[in-house]
């Protein structure tokens, strides 16, 4: 075993020492806090061992918010470094690490878990189920994601972060050109959390296909549930490609295989190819649920049913198929011929058609609606024009011959921020405000919410619109500094100001959570927005069994029909309810996986083998676990329902 303490150290920057100290202090603070307030037992019983989809969802969202700030600080550092010519804030290596982790964290450890968190909280409620199909698998998914994310985050202070871009193109990411452990972290952290995501995909497909309440046919499902179903189908078919590509990368970097090298029959461009075979569907994995969230919010706050339900579903299905046939548009300039680029140009532009259908459906839902401008609705309304700018510049980039001009410039950076921020971030924030009262029993403050909204929406455009112009002026992405003669300075400074504004917006958003927790009045009704779908038909905060009585669905907007058409929803009597019991094994599995990943990163084979055997032991223990859950007796359910008050049953 080649143990060498030097490999663990990251040298140089005072910033990194600062990060080390803050991580250490935060960890000590958490441990001391939990001990002083005697919360270890509570943490273990209520959260670490939970299999309740709502709690797992809340943990996903908390982790995503933390990662949002981690990725946001990365973004601020990048914008500061490029704010003026010849800045000396970061050196080139540090800048490379920062833009790489910014991309990885924002896509895989912020957008994905935020969406999966909302999915966890909302989907079982929307289909009238008591939990997901496999509650324990769900906990496994979460802990694998969580420890994968932690593995990537410690790379910053132990051994060095990945530094070859979030797409980790070979040959740059190969052992020859990136000899540090950074890209080992990349392959292993993504692999571990990717396995978790894949299991989420399986879990939610089964949940949606098999656990719907009686009467809820597929074409009666809420649009968010539809979008989640299609998203998970994409997850199940796209993530195996990433799994394989990452495994090959790991073999190349750890065991000396030659899949992506430039010699011995290896093919460096195959990495880019496989990465985008997964990577493009991945974009739709984060954007389709957003479409679902907007559909729910726009329908609720226009007080109308969703316009063009069938065409919404059809366009999402078409997008899911098209998402698999466009990947080469990420590397038009790699060297393939005209025919190939023309094919992928056309398939890419074709995606604009179903997306356009959806935009018009939202506009027609708004038409003649009684619109109330709540915070979630404001984000949804802002999404439509901003996303359209992102989409139109996407069509510009889709033209292969024109793309030779824009390729890898700041124009591209501006484009994908203009699609992903309104298409994923605004959506999860809107969904967060919208479903917050369901989970916690009180709304977020509207005044603070709107303050945050205006800061975020204006600063977003200030931060990213200049990048379109900078790209056309010739500034390439990922350049860590530039000379004053280029003339890039002023626009970059404006962009930095925008980034600061975004930071202020997000701080207000988090302050709003704190303020509302202390001062907002409790919501007794369970339906504060006068909404349409099943999740609002139960109490808030949601009792652990979700619905005291399984609803009988007779229309697309069952709650609306119950409230305004006097259509009965809960017709059965309360009986005892079967629930899954908690388990600590998924958490332990995550911890063991974390160590397996860590030892593999540093090629410490014997500890890695021990951890690998540990994984197998935990898996075997889970397979032989005979636990059939427990029953909540009917009188206890009735008592809980009375205590939560309000009333549908």
């Amino acid at each position: 075993m080649n143990f060498d303490i030097e490999k663990f150290k990251v040298h140089g920057e005072p910033l990194i020492y600062g990060a080390m100290i803050s991580i250490a202090l935060a960890s000590i603070g958490i441990v001391v806090g939990l001990t002083v307030f005697k919360k270890w037992g509570w943490l273990w019983r209520e959260w670490l061992t939970t299999v309740d989809h709502k709690r797992i969802g809340v943990m996903y969202i908390l982790a995503a918010l933390l990662m949002l700030f981690r990725g946001g600080i990365d973004a601020l550092m990048m914008r500061l470094q490029t704010a003026a010519p010849e800045m000396k804030f970061l050196d080139a290596q540090h800048y490379n690490e920062v833009f790489t982790t910014h991309g990885l964290i924002m896509i895989l450890f912020m957008a994905m878990p935020f969406i999966i968190g909302l999915m966890n909280v909302v989907v079982p409620l929307q289909i009238g189920a008591r939990d997901v199909a496999f509650p324990r698998l769900n906990a496994v998914s979460f802990w694998l994601f969580f420890f994968g994310a932690m593995l990537l985050n410690i790379s910053f202070v132990i051994g060095g972060s990945p530094d070859a871009g979030w797409s980790a193109y070979f040959p740059l990411a190969s052992l020859e050109f990136s000899p540090t452990v950074g890209n080992n972290y990349y392959s292993l952290a993504l692999q571990i959390s990717g396995i978790g995501t894949l299991m989420t995909g399986v879990n939610f497909i089964v949940t949606i296909l098999k656990m719907r309440a009686p009467g809820m046919k597929l074409m009666r499902m809420p649009m968010f549930t539809w979008s989640v179903l299609i998203t998970n189908v994409i997850i199940v078919f796209a993530f195996p490609v990433l799994t394989v590509a990452l495994a090959l990368m790991m073999f190349d970097r750890l065991f000396g295989s030659q899949f992506f090298t430039m010699a011995n029959g290896g093919m460096d461009m195959l990495w880019a190819n496989l990465f985008w075979v997964w990577g493009h569907p991945e974009v739709y994995i984060v954007i389709l649920p957003a479409f679902g969230i907007y559909s729910e919010i726009i329908a609720t706050f226009s007080r109308k049913n969703l316009y063009g339900y069938t065409s919404m579903v059809a366009s999402m299905l078409i997008i899911s198929l098209l998402s698999f046939v466009v990947w080469a548009h990420h590397f038009y300039t790699m060297g393939q011929g005209v025919m190939v680029n023309s094919f992928f140009s056309i398939s890419t532009m074709a995606i604009a058609v179903p997306t356009g259908v959806k935009i018009f459906n939202w506009l027609f839902t708004l038409r003649k609606g009684r619109i109330s401008f709540t915070t979630p609705m404001l984000y949804s309304l802002a999404f439509i024009p901003i996303f359209t700018i992102g989409g139109v510049t996407g069509v510009m980039l889709a033209m292969a011959s024109a793309d030779y001009q824009y390729h890898n410039t700041m124009f591209l950076v501006a484009h994908f921020h203009y699609v992903l921020i309104p298409g994923a971030v605004f959506a999860v924030i809107a969904g967060f405000h919208y479903w917050f009262p369901k989970v916690f029993g009180f709304r977020l403050n509207e005044r603070l919410g709107k303050h945050a909204f205006w800061w975020i929406i204006i600063s977003f455009n200030v931060a990213f619109f200049p990048l379109f112009i900078l790209g056309l002026m010739g500034m390439t992405r990922r350049m860590y500094t530039y000379s004053a003669e280029t003339g890039f300075g002023p626009l970059n400074m404006i962009s930095f100001a925008g980034a600061l504004g975004l930071a202020i917006g997000f701080v207000i958003l988090v302050y709003n959570i704190y303020w509302s927790t202390r001062y907002m009045p409790r919501d007794e009704s369970g339906d504060p927005w006068d909404a349409r779908t099943l999740e609002w038909a139960t109490k808030s905060p949601i009792p652990e069994y979700n619905f005291a009585v399984v609803p009988n669905v007779k229309s697309r907007d069952p709650l609306w029909a119950m409230k305004y058409d006097k259509q009965p929803l809960f017709e059965d009597k309360i009986t005892k309810i079967h629930m899954p019991s908690n388990t600590g094994k998924p958490f332990i599995l995550g911890v063991v996986f974390f160590f397996l990943g860590f030892f593999l990163v540093f090629s410490m084979w014997i500890p890695a083998i021990v951890a690998g055997v540990g994984v197998l032991i935990v898996l075997a223990a889970m397979s032989f676990d005979r636990d059939h859950g427990f029953y909540i007796p009917a009188d206890k359910v009735i008592k809980t329902e009375k205590k939560l008050g309000g009333g549908t049953v």
Partner: protein
């Protein structure tokens, strides 16, 4: 009694998978023509995939989810074929020369 408890189908599937994987190695250690190698790989891969579907994933068993199963299979086939032939299209047939 023993017959019900012993997972004979799974054991057969497992052994067959090992045998088929070993058979595919003939491409490396044997001395066949290129065409014969491709035939060996395709045939063993096809049998391997059907073993998975029938012995482990019970594709023949439940009648009520037949439709979903076949839609899923078709989707998987679509994605697999698109990935393979798309890659060939980019790097072999459509490569700039």
């Amino acid at each position: 009694m023993m017959k019900q408890l012993f997972p004979i189908r799974h054991v057969i599937g497992y052994i067959a998978s090992l045998v088929l994987s070993a058979a595919a190695l003939a491409v490396i250690y044997g001395d066949f023509s290129h065409a014969a190698n491709i035939v060996i790989l395709s045939v063993t891969a096809l049998i391997q995939a059907s073993l998975q579907l029938f012995l482990f994933m019970h594709i023949g068993e439940s009648a009520d989810t037949k439709k979903e199963l076949y839609i899923n299979l078709a989707y998987a086939l679509f994605v697999g074929l698109v990935t393979i032939f798309g890659t060939l299209y980019i790097f072999v047939w459509g490569w700039y020369s």
